[in-house]
Symmetry: D2
Subunit: 351 residues, 4 copies
């Protein structure tokens, strides 16, 4: 049994880790930490998980927890993961960080966009960007996995076949993304109140959202380019729903390139041929976020618009599963040489 500790377990991402890991046949959850609920039974904090996990929340004792666990999931606000990663290295344990601290190759990018000094830039080169569909070989060898952001997961998966096939201009990409409000976490904020969110849609973080450089970095890596050579527009929108991200991607076909939707669909199908979680929809069938509700599955739809010489792709995920906890478990499965789908087989809930 793999001994797992979840640090920051009482946020929505933490709860999703508990929900899924409590049914992982190779996992034993040994510790759940929390700032706000120390000594409280976990199932009091999340009654939906009654009977699933017998633990109470505990305070964060880095050394002791690292000692007890084989792998630690960090579900912390950015800036707080460094000491955990350092201790993991010291003890030879594995860390899967669901925050942003180890996602960037260039410390400068992190510091510019997150307005925070990075406390351990030397660790950045050790970290692997944990998108299994693109990086599983590197993930397998790593000890520090930087689990991707929710928007980048949807966006990069939608873009990768396009870029590898070199059909679009990588400098003309626009991503218009739509997310459920659970992405904002469980903290009590005015902007997350039901009365402010229901029957309402808005853009936010326009031209400034921190997931922008993360997407740019991975696209550049795919193309073998320097990160700063790619500049794309990324616009997130808040949806009146709890879960789900739909990423709508606009690409400009290379000049003079002729490609049909049928051909492009085949490129996507080939690219994701063996992937258990990725599904390419058929012509005129556009992904719906609810198809993924509660699951690690990803749906990608696409077309070519000859009128405008553009490609349009939409990717649907559950932001808390493939966009966070599910992907982290997929990464854990890789780290421990288990089938990637373990504990993640279940489909979305509909209706």
């Amino acid at each position: 049994m793999i001994k797992v500790a979840i640090v920051g377990s009482t946020g929505y991402t933490g709860a999703e880790l508990v929900r899924l890991l409590s049914h992982h046949p190779e996992v034993e959850i040994v510790a759940l930490t929390s700032q706000s609920y120390v000594d409280q039974a976990y199932e009091e904090v999340y009654p939906s998980l009654t009977g699933q996990v017998g633990l109470s929340c505990q305070a964060q004792d880095i050394e002791a927890l690292m000692n007890e666990a084989d792998v630690v999931f960090l579900a912390l606000p950015h800036g707080l993961s460094v000491p955990w990663a350092q201790e993991a290295y010291r003890q030879g344990k594995k860390v899967i960080d669901l925050g942003a601290d180890f996602r960037f190759r260039e410390v400068q990018t992190y510091e510019n966009w997150y307005k925070t000094k990075h406390e351990a830039p030397d660790l950045l080169s050790q970290a692997v960007y944990g998108l299994p569909e693109l990086n599983r070989h590197k993930i397998r060898e790593s000890v520090l996995v930087a689990n991707p952001g929710c928007y980048p997961t949807a966006s990069i998966l939608g873009l990768a076949p396009l870029l590898q096939a070199k059909v679009i201009n990588p400098k003309k990409i626009i991503i218009d993304a739509k997310s459920g409000v659970s992405g904002a976490g469980r903290s009590a904020k005015l902007g997350s109140l039901y009365g402010e969110v229901n029957e309402n849609v808005k853009a936010y973080g326009v031209a400034t959202h921190r997931h922008t450089p993360e997407i740019e970095q991975e696209i550049a890596a795919l193309l073998g380019m320097e990160a700063e050579k790619v500049k794309l527009s990324f616009t997130p929108h808040l949806m009146p729903m709890t879960r789900g991200i739909l990423s709508t991607i606009y690409g400009e076909l290379l000049e003079n390139l002729q490609i049909s939707a049928v051909e492009l669909r085949q490129i996507y199908k080939d690219f994701y041929d063996k992937e258990p979680f990725i599904h390419i929809t058929e012509e005129d069938q556009w992904p719906q976020t609810k198809w993924c509700y509660g699951s690690n599955h990803v749906f990608i739809g696409l077309t070519v618009d000859p009128r405008t010489h553009r490609v349009i792709v939409t990717t649907a995920i559950d932001n808390l599963v493939k966009g966070a906890a599910g992907q982290a478990i997929q990464n854990m499965n890789i780290l421990f040489d288990l089938p990637e789908t373990k504990a993640l087989e279940r489909p979305g809930i509909w209706p």
Copy 2:
């Protein structure tokens, strides 16, 4: 492997059976029938189930299907289950009927409330009312299980300990129930449109809802009384949500009876002591339907109001799981001598 056929598989209840049974380790789904989608791949009808089941929908051939399957789940409008049950008897197969045709002991009750002549009243005495927490011994011996209605499941589970303990007047019960719109099925009706349901609450079927006599019958049975001796008020309400039922139950304490909330809670805990799916909440903690979202779990909260000499109980379930497909699978597990929780272990999804 148990060979399973699902008849009427493209409604919401059918889809929920497929979602759950496709991960049941002892089950092989051998046939999915449909009226509207014959020859269409099931995963085209429910893309959320992509990769879960390889079958296409087929027309209803009663004899052939019964021959192929060990057990048949019927998810049909009322009035259509009889020929299936008859053929099952002929072939010695098992039937779990999710409709109302076999729920009543008295044919007259069925015919009065459903305004339909019953085509096989002789079968009624063979059928067992499939509420495992109360009837599992009878279910085990039966071949025809009448799976309870969604409202009755929530209501009877909330009432049973009260009645067994004889603390309330069985003739003064009021049930005020709240259900998500998925209970109305997947048919395209004006009253189920998003624009008509969102930001809206209403009562419907007041004093006339067909689940009333079903609850009355089972309460009377619990008390060893004749069904017509119990008359309760049952008022369903439509909620602006997809899944979930909350049943709020009002009971009058017997005159001169003194009982505290603590004592009554203990009665409930004792009654449901060994039940894997039933959870009694603590004082001042009231069940929320979302705790059960997508799961077979049931939460029951209660208090005694000395001011009014009343007991108030609320029961939360997922109407499509414990209120339909999940309970049907629980019944199948009993019929085939499997652990009742098989394929039903997963908790609700939160948020």
Copy 3:
């Protein structure tokens, strides 16, 4: 022009007062107070009201504001209205209090249920309970109007004809009420987050909600009984919606009384014959909260269930309009001898 000040103007009730009063032809809003947004333009706090009101929020200066205004609307947490009322008396101005401080005739009832000492019990006898349909003659003569709670408004309006006609037992009333989350105000609370409220229903404050004694008091008054002689069960439920209350009322017909639904409906129609805001629905047509969305209208549906010898009534209102701001304006119209419907004529928004 009537000069109006709104105290506590940046909560949802305050915003609703501004929305409606800014289109009242006889009203000039002269001051908007706030604790959190002093000196901020009101339309920055509520961009939906851009261009409707030119004021900025100001701090609370009781004496100055009372001097400036003809009438003050108080939208404050309970316990804070007393000094405003006292100053109003001193200056001979009118006060409409949307909080609970002046709703009770017996100071003891207030203190028991609100767990607060009342600072000016002598004022209670001066206050009039501001339910125009029952009390408009008293309201006209008063200077201190205690605007009813949202749940009591729906409940009392649904009960009044029943009680006056003496068809039910006043000691056996049950009220099961359903409210949108805006009733909890605009404060950032975990329980009001979209992720916690959507796709969810729960009871709360069972047998302890503070609106209980308010309803009991007014029912007793209608019957000419002492308040403590009436004890009813009132159970509020939180709905996954923003606005609206549906109050489902269960009454026991007096023993041996025979009355049909048709006769009872006529009693309601006669009782509310001249009322511009009250609408009695026809047989089998049950009120929907959304019919009132954003409006001061009230819909009441009812039936008699001869099987159980009970009456069932449902009342739908918009909790922020007829349940708060709209009713307060209706009271103001009465105080200043204007048509009651002034600024309140608009129907609900559908869909």
Copy 4:
């Protein structure tokens, strides 16, 4: 009093016309037609409008209705407006068509995108595209107003200042739009069911939506170009909400052009300086659809992203008001020389 007939009055757009016109001080509604509800009282079809309009629905008798009314609002599926327009011409009455039949200058564009032969192409040149902020002088002189589509209203209003100021490349425009489900009308369709829409987001009509050529035509007109010279990408998305459209617009700044967000905002403020319904938000404040809920107001937010050399604009409207019925009334006010804001003054409802 202006005598108004509403043809196709029982759809959502028709109901919105009734809601707003029943409070227009210069209007008398003389006829409401319907296909499905002939002879039924209008307030039975829409109980939210109880007491607002005394009429029953009637069948469509073109000649008689045209005779009775001064102006006819047509809320019909496309293809059905022609005989009404012809009869209006014959009788010298005015028509405001909320459908698509008269929106296009080139019959070929209509026939290509709507797959319908146009029955009266000669009338196209008589019709005026009814976007008051751009065309009010022409509207005033016209007899046949083609009321814009909902998406085009939001999109063109967001683009017009950009185009007039010639800061972006008109051939590189992308519009990613998000709409509530009421845009699909009140017909009972699977895709509009609550269970299919709630907690769900999807794209639809990608690269093929019929509002695309409407936007292109008006943009070209603004620029004095031929319509076929403009080709833009327009992608609509279905939101889990009832009302509201948010249109997110991406424009490429002309090469070598330097412009700041402050400068661009000033261009927008100048362009819409005198407009009563258009509000330009301040820096970092992004429009929310709910600010417009139930109102004719429009909010436009924008920024310049120097990193990508792009302009990003979002426009929020209520699709049933400014996107349909409200704008139609604004056009009527212009036709009859009334203040444009008459009956449209009310702000959005929040929360």
